[in-house]
C-alpha cells in the first residue's frame, strides 16, 4: 500500500507537541495532515479530501466544536472527532448538536482506544462512500433507462414509467 492509498486524517491542535506525538503514532496507518489552528484546518479541508478530522477543543482562534460545525458544512462526508483535555460536557454536547460529532476522546488518550475509534471512523466513511457510489450508480442506471424509454413508441405504460423517472430525478436533484 503506498501512502496515497492510506485514509486521510487531519489532526488539529494548538500544541505542536501533541501533533508530533500523534504523528509518530499514526503515520503508518494514515496519510496525515496537521494544523495548529482552526483557520489552517479549514483551508486543508477545502483543498484535500479529508476522511477523518481529529480536533482539539480548546484553541485560541476557534473552538473545536465550532471548527467541526464548519467542517460539517464544507465537507459533510468528513467524520468528525473531538479530542479534549477539558472533558467539558457542555462543549461535547454543543459539538454533538451543531458539529455532527461522531465521537469524542479525552487527553491523555489510550492508544488502543484512539486507534479503534479512528479505524471505526474510517470504516464509517467508507460505508458512506460505498452507499453514495451505489446510489450514484443507481441514478445513472435510472437515467439510462429513462433515455431508453423515450426512444420507445408511446403507450400508457411507457408514459407512466417516464413520469415516475422524471419525479425520481426531481427528488434526487432537490435532495443533493
Amino acid at each position: 500500500m503506498t501512502s496515497s492509498d492510506l485514509p486521510t486524517l487531519l489532526l488539529v491542535d494548538d500544541e505542536p507537541d501533541i501533533l508530533l506525538s500523534l504523528e509518530g503514532l499514526l503515520r503508518r496507518e494514515f496519510r496525515l495532515f496537521t494544523a495548529e489552528n482552526g483557520t489552517d484546518a479549514l483551508q486543508i479541508v477545502q483543498a484535500e479530501s479529508i476522511q477523518v478530522i481529529l480536533s482539539d477543543q480548546r484553541m485560541p482562534d476557534m473552538m473545536g466544536d465550532e471548527l467541526l460545525a464548519q467542517v460539517a458544512r464544507l465537507s459533510p462526508a468528513t467524520i468528525r472527532i473531538l479530542l479534549t483535555g477539558y472533558a467539558d460536557i457542555q462543549d461535547v454536547i454543543r459539538a454533538l448538536n451543531t458539529g455532527g460529532l461522531y465521537r469524542y476522546l479525552t487527553k491523555p488518550w489510550d492508544l488502543d482506544e484512539l486507534k479503534s475509534v479512528l479505524e471505526d471512523a474510517v470504516e464509517l466513511y467508507s460505508q458512506h462512500q460505498r452507499r453514495e457510489d451505489l446510489n450514484r450508480e443507481k441514478m445513472k442506471f435510472a437515467e439510462d433507462i429513462l433515455a431508453f424509454l423515450q426512444t420507445l413508441p408511446i403507450s400508457d405504460e411507457v408514459t407512466a414509467l417516464i413520469d415516475r423517472g422524471n419525479r425520481l430525478m426531481t427528488l434526487e436533484a432537490t435532495n443533493t
Binding site: 506525538s21 460536557i89 487527553k107
Partner: protein, 415 residues
C-alpha cells in the same frame, strides 16, 4: 445555682480607717462576697497586681497613693478586663464627684456608706462585670468560628487547585505517554532492521575489517544490553506514567469535575474511588481496608458531595486508627435501603460526645489538626439525600459509622 469558683467576683477594699474598713468588709461578707481588705493605696496596688479583682472599693483620701491615683493606675493597666471602681468619700460637692468620675471611677459613695446603697452599687458592678465577661466569651467564640471558616475555605481552595492542576497536567501527560508508544514502536522497528542485517551477515561479502569495526561499535555500545534492557526501561516508564494518569483521573472522578452534577452512581465503585484517593493516607498511617461489598443497586445523587461525605467518614476512621489497624468497610442493601458501614478499631467515642460528633466544629483533635467540619458535612449531605448517619461502639473496641440511604423509593421517583 452556685457560681463556679472562677466565675466568683472578688472585691478589693482599700481604706485606711480600721473602723470603716471592718464595717465595709463585714457587710460584704454577710452578702456572701469574697473580700480582700488593705489599709492603703500602695498595698491595694500590690494586691491588684497579684490577684484578679473585678470590683475595687477605695477611700479617696489615703497617704501616698490615694484613691484617685489607684483608679488611674487600674485603668492604665492592660489585660485586666473590666474593673468596676467605687470611690468612697466624705466630700459631696458636685465638682469633686465630677472630677472623680473623670478620673475613671464608676461610682462614688458618701461616707458613712448606707448598707442598702453600698449593696445597690456593688450589684450594679456585678451586673456590668458579668455582662463584660459574657461579651468577652462571645468575642472569643466568634474568633474561633472565624478561624475555622478560614480553614474550611482554605481546604476548599486546595480541592479546586488540585482539580485545576489535574487539568493542566493532562496535555503534557498525553504527549509523554504518546511519545513512549512512538519510542516503543520505533525501537521495535530498529531491532527488526538490525536482526535482518545480522541474519545475512555471514552470507554477504563484507570485508573483515568492516565487520570488525561494526563489532567494535556494537561492543562499545553494549548492544546485547540495549536489546535486553530498552524494552524494560520503556515498560517501567509506561507503568509509571500510567500511575500518574490514574492519580489524575481519580482526582477528577472524585471531584466529579466536568461531569453532570446529578447522576446515577454505583456505590461500590464510588467507595472504591474514595478508598483509592485515600490510598497514600492509608499507607502513611499503616492502616489497611477490609472490604465486604455486596452487589447493590445504583442510585441517583450529587456524586461529588456523596464522595466527599464518604471520604470524610473514612478519613475520620483512618485518623482514629493506630498503625497496623484495619478499617472494615461494608456495603449492603436490604428493603430498599443502602447501608455503608465504616468500622475502626480506635479508642471509641465517649457516650456524651456521640450526639455532638456530627455538629459543626466539634472536634476531639488538637487545634489545627481537624477542622471539626468533616463529619458535620457528611451528616448534612446524607440527611439532604433523605438518609441518615449514626455512630455506635464497635464490639471489641472502636467505632462503627453507619450511613443509610433509601434507594428504592428514590429510583421509582427518578425514573
Amino acid at each position: 445555682m452556685s457560681t463556679p469558683e472562677s466565675e466568683r467576683i472578688k472585691i478589693l477594699i482599700a481604706e485606711d480607717s480600721v473602723t470603716t474598713r471592718t464595717a465595709l468588709s463585714g457587710m460584704l461578707n454577710s452578702w456572701d462576697y469574697d473580700v480582700c481588705e488593705v489599709a492603703d493605696g500602695a498595698q491595694a496596688w500590690q494586691e491588684f497586681d497579684k490577684e484578679v479583682y473585678r470590683i475595687v472599693l477605695t477611700d479617696w483620701q489615703m497617704p501616698d497613693v490615694d484613691g484617685l491615683e489607684l483608679i488611674r493606675r487600674i485603668r492604665a493597666k492592660e489585660n485586666t478586663g473590666f474593673v468596676y471602681t467605687i470611690l468612697l468619700t466624705a466630700r459631696s460637692a458636685t465638682s469633686d464627684v465630677v472630677s472623680a468620675m473623670a478620673d475613671g471611677a464608676d461610682a462614688y459613695l458618701i461616707k458613712p456608706a448606707e448598707p442598702e446603697e453600698l449593696r445597690a452599687r456593688i450589684r450594679a458592678g456585678v451586673r456590668i462585670v458579668k455582662l463584660e465577661r459574657k461579651l468577652e466569651r462571645r468575642r472569643q467564640e466568634l474568633l474561633d468560628v472565624r478561624t475555622r471558616i478560614l480553614e474550611a475555605e482554605k481546604l476548599a481552595g486546595i480541592g479546586q487547585l488540585a482539580a485545576g492542576m489535574a487539568h493542566e497536567v493532562n496535555n503534557p501527560i498525553a504527549v509523554v505517554s504518546g511519545n513512549i508508544d512512538v519510542f516503543a514502536r520505533g525501537i521495535q522497528s530498529l531491532l527488526e532492521i538490525l536482526d535482518s542485517w545480522e541474519a545475512v551477515r555471514e552470507e554477504t561479502q563484507i570485508p573483515t575489517e568492516v565487520l570488525q569495526r561494526i563489532d567494535d561499535i556494537s561492543q562499545r555500545n553494549d548492544l546485547s544490553w540495549l536489546r535486553e534492557s530498552l524494552p524494560r526501561y520503556l515498560h517501567t516508564t509506561n507503568t509509571n506514567v500510567q500511575r500518574v494518569r490514574d492519580i489524575i483521573s481519580r482526582l477528577q472522578d472524585f471531584s466529579w469535575h466536568d461531569k453532570a452534577q446529578i447522576d446515577r452512581i454505583d456505590p461500590v465503585q464510588a467507595v472504591e474511588t474514595t478508598i483509592a484517593v485515600l490510598g497514600s493516607e492509608l499507607a502513611r498511617a499503616h492502616v489497611t481496608v477490609e472490604r465486604s461489598f455486596e452487589p447493590v443497586s445504583s442510585f441517583t445523587c450529587h456524586p461529588p458531595e456523596f464522595n466527599q461525605a464518604v471520604y470524610n467518614v473514612l478519613h475520620n476512621a483512618i485518623q482514629a486508627s493506630s498503625p497496623g489497624d484495619k478499617v472494615d468497610i461494608g456495603i449492603q442493601e436490604s428493603d430498599g435501603t443502602l447501608t455503608i458501614l465504616v468500622a475502626d478499631r480506635g479508642p471509641g467515642i465517649p457516650e456524651q460526645d456521640r450526639s455532638r460528633i456530627f455538629q459543626p466544629f466539634f472536634t476531639t483533635r488538637r487545634v489545627g489538626a481537624g477542622s471539626g467540619l468533616g463529619l458535620s458535612y457528611s451528616h448534612r449531605v446524607i440527611r439532604e439525600s433523605g438518609g441518615s448517619i449514626s455512630c455506635s461502639p464497635r464490639t471489641g473496641g472502636g467505632t462503627v459509622f453507619e450511613i443509610s440511604i433509601p434507594v428504592s423509593s428514590q429510583s421509582t421517583a427518578a425514573e
